[in-house]
Symmetry: C2
Subunit: 247 residues, 2 copies
Amino acid sequence: MGTTQLDTVPEPKYWHLKTVLSEALDSEFAVGEILPNERELAARFGVARATLRQALEQLELEGRLQRRRGVGTTVAPPRVGVAVGDAEQAWPGTAADSWQAVDCLEAAPPAAVARLLGTPAGRPVHTVRRIRRTHGQPVAAELLYVPGHSVPGLAAIDTASGAARARTVLRELQRLALEGQDRAVELGSARAEDAKQLDRLPGAPVLLVTTRYFAEGATAAVAVATYRADTCRLTFGETGVQLLAAG
Amino acid sequence: MGTTQLDTVPEPKYWHLKTVLSEALDSEFAVGEILPNERELAARFGVARATLRQALEQLELEGRLQRRRGVGTTVAPPRVGVAVGDAEQAWPGTAADSWQAVDCLEAAPPAAVARLLGTPAGRPVHTVRRIRRTHGQPVAAELLYVPGHSVPGLAAIDTASGAARARTVLRELQRLALEGQDRAVELGSARAEDAKQLDRLPGAPVLLVTTRYFAEGATAAVAVATYRADTCRLTFGETGVQLLAAG
DNA sequence: GAGTGGTCTAGACCACGTA
DNA sequence: ACGTGGTCTAGACCACTCC
């Protein structure tokens, strides 16, 4: 093979910066510590502020840094593992989980969700909003879409509103026999509304977890949960942990 | 005057741009179609190129666009779902899966991996590299870390190298009884080496899937798979699909 | 009000793919 | 050789938090 790889591939400045900063974070900074501000860091490294920011953005994406407007840039704690897997092989809201119902409204779901539900596009469904917190911090915002036919008993008790109504929908849903579920994870950016609930700016990177709940041979509900990608590590199938603990 | 909060909260330009572009993509462009170049788009919308790029970056993050240096910006196809879940509740490389062994070397794993393996930091382990392809496109690059004690029979057949050696390690691993596994998904940015294999630039957003394999009451191996976040949707637990198909 | 990160501009040059 | 996206600069102003 002739291709000598020896060409000096000029590494971009921001990439090199990121490496240097990353090593400095490991050795010279403690979790929660405040870094010098962007203007000073840029000056110290002899680059434009925009270039420095490119490096900081990557480190934030990797969960190493946390930046807050008006406050500063701090060293982020390790990501928290949040269980998303079969541990909750049950309807949402069943046990005393870490979710908190916020409210419930009737609205037409996004086209992609309507397709999963098998309902006609534009048809309104019960839409339950929930928030998930860990150690007091919000980690996820969820929209749970429940077609009317999944909660037939609901019409009679239609008076409640807000969180109470959300809980009623969840309770009615649990009357169905759950036959299975289905999950997908992908990268997204936070919608303005979710961003506010997650204490982030709009467009922040998030992990979108789409769950389909099956009952009576059809899709009974679809949940789209928006997890903060900077602070969360989604964990699945905790079986092994118990094995280790037992051994 | 009671400061009514009705003040038009000035939406960032790039955010508005993103919305406009997103709608245009839905209605006026077909998958694979080439958009006008960045300089022309910026001029057309009356913004600086950097601002336009901010919008494009977000759309790329969401999997709506694909940008390639020297080529242009095209409308991305919908993300492909890649199964990561229990469907492969088995040792890696067991069946004729979509993975392809590349090579195998002896190297000290990252500290985080050494911790999961329970091996001393700095101790070299067998490191198998694999690539996963879907429809011909590379979607993931993986490093599988296998401590020597998990493949005791390997020393005798140490002669092979490259892909052959990688396959040997995988084969030896399958002699152990798999007792369970453990997965976590988080956001990361592609290391230079992975980026090359995935046909992306370094730093591109990726989904890191860390899998622990348990055998004989301990962690027998750890895999860190790097999935392209722009083109992939990770799917877990396909049980429901079969239910639907049967119903 | 002072200081922080977030947005935006109008340029320049570079690396890459293709013709 | 050309056109593309990628990197980089040196400024400016804005939105937010905290004092």
